[in-house]
């Protein structure tokens, strides 16, 4: 059993200004698996009314990264690479939901697969495959721990010169 709650994931998302600006909402969470959704917004349209790929990328990146965060040493992960395949246009006006699964975990790297759908769950809008750094620190369980961990992460990344 995982002790991660949807509230934990939501508080994490809300701490990321860009994810918050896109209105992302945590829907489901368990260890190594997360579902996050995002409302349609005309401001995010690319060609015509359809959501721009870049908006879908943000959802895929956040969902994939957050799935890694729920692993025992997932906090402080960083995206190494993320490849997104765009299957079809998301229907304008519909919410887009992404579901991520950490399908292989090594000492230093986590491999994540993510799929996104709109209201038609029979056909994905996009899929993604990513590699994330792993093995940094235990995930925080309380808002105070979250604050401290984000600070520690910042210090560590500064040390690494990133």
């Amino acid at each position: 059993m995982s002790d991660f709650s949807v509230d934990w994931v939501q508080s994490f998302i809300d701490a990321l200004p860009y994810s918050k600006a896109l209105g992302m909402r945590a829907d489901e969470v368990s260890e190594g698996r997360v579902s996050i959704s995002m409302p349609y917004a005309q401001a995010l349209a690319g060609d015509g009314e359809v959501l721009h790929g870049g908006a879908i990328s943000a959802l895929m990146d956040t969902t994939s990264g957050t799935a890694v965060m729920t692993l025992p040493k997932g906090l402080g992960t960083a995206t190494l690479d993320l490849r997104i395949d765009y299957m079809r246009a998301a229907t304008p006006g519909q919410r887009v939901r992404a579901s991520a699964e950490c399908y292989h975990i090594t000492r230093t790297v986590v491999f994540v697969r993510t799929t996104a759908w709109d209201e038609d769950e029979s056909k994905p809008v996009a899929t993604a495959a990513g590699a994330f750094t792993y093995g940094h620190m235990r995930a925080p369980r309380t808002p105070e721990e979250m604050q401290a961990a984000m600070q520690a992460l910042a210090t560590r990344q500064k040390e690494l010169g990133q």
Binding site: Y18, L22, G46, H52, G54, D81, L82, I84
Partner: protein, 174 residues
């Protein structure tokens, strides 16, 4: 001998075309991206904004914001190159162009981003190179940097489906 066109006329025509191409893309306005043009060379500029941050403690740009910026830079470069021939060689008519609206954009088939280092809380720049452009498919590479053009913080390669003259039955709709 034919007199060369006055420089203002050339610039206005090119800038009108670029504005028409980019101006109608809502996502470009959302991210606040603008394009610097020198001749046919484009540099995409992402001015720093607090809402682009991922980890607020660093602070660093959100990977999703970086990916969106790279994708916009790639797709606009590709569309711009297609348009350039019309602007310079062909029957480009700014008024007709304005009336008909923006040309259709290439659709992203896939987009693969490498995150090389954290994006800092300051302006970012990107330049894209079309490595292959066919009748139907194109492959574009794009790099983004901040302080030092030789130290990119992210790069990406994407494949795109070119807008077709008429409706076809290609399965890729993204």
């Amino acid at each position: 001998m034919k007199t060369p066109e006055p420089v203002q006329v050339i610039k206005e025509r090119r800038d009108t075309a670029l504005n028409a191409l980019v101006g109608g893309i809502n996502f470009v306005q959302f991210l606040g991206i603008r394009f610097d043009r020198k001749g046919d060379e484009l540099t995409a500029v992402l001015p720093y904004d607090q809402k682009l941050i991922g980890n607020p403690m660093l602070p660093a740009l959100h990977g999703g914001a970086t990916a969106g910026f790279l994708e916009v830079a790639a797709v606009v470069q590709l569309a711009w190159q297609e348009l350039w021939g019309q602007i310079e060689g062909g029957p480009f008519d700014p008024e007709r162009f304005a009336a008909e609206g923006r040309p259709r954009l290439p659709k992203t088939i896939d987009f693969s981003v490498d995150y090389l280092r954290a994006g800092l809380p300051r302006d970012a720049y990107a330049r894209a190179r079309v490595n292959r452009s066919g009748r139907r498919y194109a492959s574009v590479h794009v790099e983004a940097w901040q302080d030092n053009v030789n130290r990119p913080f992210a790069q990406a390669t994407g494949h795109f489906l070119m807008p077709q003259p008429k409706q076809d039955d290609d399965p890729s709709g993204g």
